[in-house]
């Protein structure tokens, strides 16, 4: 308990810095629970349709590039590491390390988005984007289109969360550079870290569900 109640970071309606930190943490975790349920609706749709149309889903999944998906998974895992190291640096009061790790996280997140953009472009070129110009050569094209609806819906929503995360990290990096954080006060870094790791976890589930369906039948069909 090294901080007094006169810490500049203490907001007036809280009694102590500990209370404020506890509130921030619980608040962020509750928000992440809402995110679990938000993405959860999308996962539910995926599970329902996959159980109803297994063949179409396998065929559609084969049009995704496993290598790119795997690389992206690794990229996000690296970004989670850099984020954890950023929080660690903040905890230890190392301003320069903090800033560099935040920037590294932003870069890795951007790489992820770049690879996603390449994948989306590929889908567009092959007419796998659901809608008027959709065209699928494999079995059950209608049901395959459902796969792509969920693919774009889920990865699109995920990408949007990545973009928001990157913006938040950029703001934090600027503030960190200006010395706004210390080993006494680094709550925003910590909380944004939780958010970033959550977005990584969403991808940890999206990758096998979307990319690895019937992976042993690459290029073939049932």
């Amino acid at each position: 308990m090294s901080t007094s109640s006169h810490s500049p970071a203490l907001l007036h309606h809280f009694d102590s810095v500990e209370q404020q930190k506890e509130a921030s943490s619980l608040g962020m975790w509750l928000f992440l629970v809402t995110e679990i349920m938000f993405f959860g609706g999308m996962f539910t749709a995926y599970i329902v349709y996959r159980s109803l149309y297994p063949n179409a889903f396998v065929a559609a999944s084969h049009t995704l590039d496993i290598t790119m998906g795997a690389i992206n998974t690794a990229v996000l895992i690296c970004s989670s590491l850099s984020m954890a190291l950023a929080v660690n640096a903040a905890q230890l009061g190392r301003r320069k390390s903090l800033v560099w790790f935040l920037i590294l996280t932003i870069l890795l997140g951007s790489v992820f988005l770049g690879i996603k953009a390449v994948e989306y472009h590929d889908k567009f070129v092959h007419h796998h984007v659901p809608g008027a110009s959709f065209h699928f050569e494999g079995p059950e094209p209608q049901n395959a289109q459902l796969f792509f609806s969920i693919y774009f819906g889920a990865t699109g929503l995920h990408a949007l969360h990545m973009i928001i995360g990157i913006v938040l990290l950029a703001i934090l990096a600027i503030r960190a550079q200006r010395g706004r954080f210390s080993s006494e006060y680094y709550t925003p870094i910590d909380m944004t870290g939780l958010y970033w790791h959550f977005v990584d976890i969403v991808w940890i589930f999206l990758f096998p569900l979307l990319y690895l369906l019937g992976g042993h039948l690459q290029g073939g069909g049932h």
Binding site: L26, T73, L81, L209
Partner: protein, 98 residues
Amino acid sequence: MSGHAESRKVYYAIFGALLALTYLTVAVARIDLGRLNTIVALTIAVTKAVLVVLFFMHVRHSNRLTKLVVVGGFVWLALLIGLTMLDVTSRNWLTIPG
């Protein structure tokens, strides 16, 4: 939120485990295990998620309330998926005339 910092060595170890599990899940997917493929893939995904939650999100050192909140969130998602699938999977069990 914990006061003490996790050691960086632990972070690197978890990082290594996550990469290894990613490699594993891709490798297993290329083998035909029938129904098991999905189970293995999901088991690996859950393991990765648990590692991220416990170590990167330091729930390992968090208080009981935080742990309850985390578990509660996933339990609730399981309810949504579970009861919905109860309907979807049992629709064809009984053919009702008319």
